[in-house]
């Protein structure tokens, strides 16, 4: 049975409120998974440097039995920028599936 955990779920209100006085604790393994995903993200050739700016993204983590899942969710642009770029988000929505044992990337999926 798959075990799911939305890493930041319980802290989502903290990020939403942008609180300055809150401590966040997480297992270092998540950050190892993040590091692998982010390194790959930076190598994507058809994304510009500005499209790789993390300010355009919300990052979500999920844990499955054998994998860490790292999501890059693009933030919606305002309407004028949507019309300028002919799309809803500036960056690209991406899902990384990372092996828990060796932190290798099992799959990388782009979304439309």
């Amino acid at each position: 049975m798959k075990k799911f955990l939305l890493l930041f779920g319980m802290y989502s209100h903290i990020f939403a409120q942008n609180s300055l006085d809150t401590k966040i604790t997480m297992d270092g393994s998540y950050l190892k998974a993040w590091n692998v995903a982010y390194k790959d993200f930076l190598t994507i050739k058809d994304l510009s440097i500005s499209q790789k700016n993390l300010k355009h993204y919300k990052i979500h983590f999920k844990i499955e039995e054998q994998y860490y899942i790292v999501f890059f969710y693009g933030k919606l642009m305002n309407e004028s920028n949507m019309q300028k770029y002919h799309r809803m988000i500036y960056g690209r929505e991406i899902k990384y599936i990372i092996n828990k044992k060796d932190f290798s990337i099992v799959d990388r999926v782009f979304f439309k």
Binding site: Q83, Y85, H86, R108, F111, K112
Partner: protein
């Protein structure tokens, strides 16, 4: 169905009938209205543009609106990119309200999930409080009802 806007020939010469500059987006077909349901309007819009979208590997999008008579229509389709499009939600006829948007996913592109809504698609629908439809390369049409939060395949 009633026709909204100009003819295709009017739309390819540099400016649209409504003054919008072409090149930024292409209004390929004449938008239609007078549909009895939201789903009928969305299905028609997607079926009209999806073959071209698939052939070009380009997304297209538009808005589904409801008029004062309780009938539905659609705008667009507006041309997007390989993996993105903008329904132009504010470009709807007067005295109508946006109730949904549709988009197509272009062709089967390696490395992409071509068959499902993205999180941005859901975010857009939830932000504007409208339903969403996507037409895929396998000619499937998925429908997201923002009120219920559920996604179903309708065709």
């Amino acid at each position: 169905m009633a026709v909204v806007g100009g003819t295709v020939s009017e739309l390819t010469g540099g400016k649209f009938a409504n003054g919008a500059v072409s090149g930024a987006f292409v209004h390929l077909f004449n938008a239609e209205r007078g549909f009895k349901t939201l789903v009928q309007a969305a299905k028609r819009a997607i079926e009209m543009i999806n073959p071209r979208s698939m052939a070009e590997h380009i997304e297209y999008a538009g808005t589904i609106y409801k008029d004062s008579q309780g009938k539905y229509g659609y705008t667009g389709p507006y041309k997007g990119t390989l993996a993105g499009s903008d329904p132009h939600i504010n470009n709807i006829p007067k005295n109508t309200v946006a109730v949904g948007y549709y988009h197509t996913h272009g062709g089967i592109d390696p490395g992409y999930d071509n068959e499902h809504f993205s999180q941005a698609d859901y975010d857009y629908a939830n932000y504007y409080k409208i339903d969403a439809f996507v037409g895929t390369p396998w000619t499937k049409i998925d429908y997201y009802n923002y009120t219920s939060g559920k996604t179903i395949t309708i065709y």
